[in-house]
Subunit: 487 residues, 2 copies
């Protein structure tokens, strides 16, 4: 669309400073960078073209990896009969408070209420029961790109909205081991995308029982740390055991001719990832996008001096075409109604990784002036071999953002061996605090009530009994858990 | 997913012959080729991986062209307040009987009922009113990939389902001319995709007033002819005039400083296109897919004789990798539990354009045995330069399918100058009958009641007054209209 700024978008200085109010800063960036907008339906957002372009790039990277690991895409119905949702007891208990009901269709009241899918285990379970008969039919490895609806009281663009977009994988396996292997494989895939595409470092581990997906045997998550010291769950992978297989009678004849229930998994990441990117990399000037998901990796701003239209502009077009041919996503902004200074702020605010300024003097020197968004480093680059130089810079920016975020995360990760130490460390929004825990849900609940901190997950490496007492009850700890205040 | 056939899928001879019952043939193909399945919710289908892979290929081709013509993607809410739908009078009248209502969310009855989007003009209209202020903001060229729900009494997989997937473009322009230009540009884009990707020839033209989109000034469609002689509307492009702009107060300050309403368009194609492909190209053996949208363009079937595993299989793998490297979508089926004969039928039924058989003798001759799905022509091809030969064959198949379908369509297109001639020609399912029409809706309705034929559209080339009397009332005809019995 025409992304021309309207009057009230013109002043990027209107973005609240992170240090003043991180939450307002976030909303300002979402609005000013035209990532999303509020809709007339409470809790529902509109994803604007610039935000959706980021989502498409994330989708491509995820979809490639999901397919490369043997999965295929399919599409299941949006509406689910209420009776199906009720088949798995924990599942319905977890989701019932959040569902939207369709009660009328085609001018008539429906015989049975339909639920707008909050997730698709139920409807997919019914189909798998129909499709799977023999061990030869296994594994079934299906993914779906879809919208889901979960009624939320408090919403925030990308982070928590009543409707959101996601991918949901649903797999069925012959053995418990294979299901567990799949669960962990996907967790690693998600970690790969977060770190190597979004440049968002994540800690992967198992959720505590109280934070499990409704109906899962084990839930694993990846957890990122936002710029304000709060954690964000960025993706989950569930080993559903035989819970859904039993509820939906998904059975197969095994190699030994006995009839058995399959073992299933499910896993998903959502448009929330865009929120993670904003809050991991952004600064007071706005968005900072990792090149891998930047709709425009490079913006070219001509400096309009003298006979620039005859000299500078054609060169800018030539360079744009060169970069495009090299597979770089590039925008040339030759709009005369805005000054270069306005454009600098605008594209900084929109997080474009690299700006190339080209004026008459640059042309004389046969170079361009490059400004990095992440470090604000500036340098003159020869036009000769520019595409390679730009690719190199983009790769540096991508790696630099991950490194910077990892450093921030590590500097905001603490450990505590006593409850006093824990409470002192957890004051404010320090980041992660690793602490020994007995695995008793009562201790977890008390810690949450008293400190607002929740167990984000229990990383595998830290999963062994730490040989220390639980910070809350003093009994022997079973695990080292990562605590944080979270979104 | 594991697409291994289960017992009841094993016999492709179970497909009803087209000549016996075209409608049952269609359903058999959809089920046997695992394109779609019925779901537990009446009228909702599951798009299975093989069907969805076709949709993804269609999507890619459409999306590329939509973006190349200056449009960007975005995402708008699934649920629309009922009051918004009611703002455009004709729009609500057209869609009200078909909508599904969400009345409860989060455990509470909603203050205002929400409609599951049947199309998104209303919700997008509200946003455009917010985003557009000046002529500088125009045009707005946005597309959305989404699911929509329209309650249907009689459904058929892909052709008419209560929920379907589509893209819907929504644009806003400064002038009436620009909106009309956009409407026609998209119609041409749709025609290009249908003919050059799906190999489905279409007739493009204007809909009669009674067949217009609810709220449109003018609706244009592309119409295809199915193998049973019935027409199928394959896509529509609407010039909405200022109807929605006025209903939603989408205004801008013009170049002359006056406040004006924008001119809007909307346009869409759906998963119905998959139905068009099935019914245009399929035969008694099942599906025939044009290479451009075939999930597997080539299947390699090794002939398991003697020491095939040491000789034939490695060669098959080598050829698979060669073809893959050349950008060809190829599947090697080395499954020992099925015979080559079974595989031949299976991949024919699934419409794979080209089969390569490779046995010990082919290896000796350093050639492969190729069988085309479309013409069933068979030939030996040297392994040397195989990828290029395969590419050539696929291009031939793609072109051949379009040519064959165009020939069929032309042979099933007739004209009639009197009502008696029209009725005689329209008996059974002859295809299209072109006839002079006065543009009076009463004549159109009577013709439909008496012959079941509807006006599919009025092609531009045939749009001038034919200088003949209307076949129904005898008054001077305004246009030559294309009539057919339609899906």
């Amino acid at each position: 669309m025409a992304a021309k700024p309207t009057q009230d978008d013109a002043f990027v200085t209107e973005i609240t400073k992170q240090s003043v109010d991180f939450s307002r800063w976030y909303l300002d960036v979402v609005r000013k960078a035209e990532l999303a907008d509020y809709s007339p339906v409470k809790g529902f957002m509109v994803i604007r073209p610039y935000g959706y372009a980021i989502w498409e790039l994330i989708q491509q990277q995820l979809d490639q990896r999901i397919k490369a690991s043997g999965h295929v895409n399919a599409y299941f119905p949006l509406l689910i009969p209420e009776s199906l949702l009720k088949k798995e007891a924990e599942h319905v208990e977890g989701f019932a408070p959040q569902v939207a009901y369709v009660t009328h269709g085609g001018g008539e009241e429906l015989e049975e209420k339909l639920v707008v899918r909050p997730t698709s285990e139920a409807i997919i379970g019914v189909m798998y029961a129909k499709w799977i008969q023999s061990w030869r039919d296994l594994p079934v490895l299906i993914n779906q790109w879809a919208n889901v609806v979960r009624w939320e009281k408090v919403t925030r663009p990308f982070l928590r909205t009543t409707e959101f977009l996601w991918q949901e994988g649903h797999t069925a396996h012959e053995t418990a081991d294979e299901a567990q292997e799949e669960t962990m494989k996907i967790l690693a895939l998600y970690k790969d995308v977060c770190e190597n595409v979004l440049a968002v470092p994540v800690m992967d581990g198992r959720k505590s029982d109280s934070e499990k997906f409704a109906g899962a045997s084990r839930t694993y998550s990846i957890e990122a740390l936002m710029g304000d010291g709060r954690a964000l769950q960025a993706g989950t992978s569930h080993n559903l055991g035989q819970n859904f297989a039993k509820a939906f009678e998904i059975q197969f004849q095994g190699r030994d001719k006995t009839v058995q229930h399959v073992w299933t998994t499910s896993w998903g990441v959502t448009t929330r990832l865009i929120g993670a990117v904003i809050m991991t990399h952004g600064d007071d000037s706005g968005l900072i996008l990792p090149p891998a998901i930047a709709p425009w990796q490079v913006v070219i701003v001509p400096i309009p001096r003298g006979t620039w239209k005859e000299t500078v502009l054609p060169k800018c077009e030539e360079i744009r075409d060169q970069l495009k041919a090299a597979g770089i996503r590039v925008k040339l902004d030759a709009d005369e109604s805005q000054t270069p200074g306005w454009k600098f702020s605008e594209y900084e605010m929109r997080g474009v990784p690299l700006r190339l300024e080209i004026g008459p003097k640059d042309i004389e020197k046969s170079s361009v002036f490059a400004a990095r968004r992440d470090t604000r480093a500036k340098a003159s680059i020869p036009m000769d071999g520019l595409a390679d130089a730009v690719k190199g810079l983009l790769a540096e920016i991508q790696a630099g953002l991950l490194e910077r975020a990892r450093k921030f995360r590590d500097e905001h990760t603490f450990s505590a061996d006593s409850y006093d130490e824990f409470k002192a460390t957890m004051a404010g929004r320090p980041g992660f605090v690793i602490a020994p825990w007995c695995e008793d849900a009562a201790c977890e609940a008390e810690i949450k009530a008293e400190t607002q901190a929740t167990i984000r997950n229990i990383p595998e490496g830290y999963g062994e009994a730490p040989g220390k007492p639980c910070i809350k009850c003093g009994k022997p700890a079973q695990v080292s858990a990562w605590f944080a205040k979270a979104y």
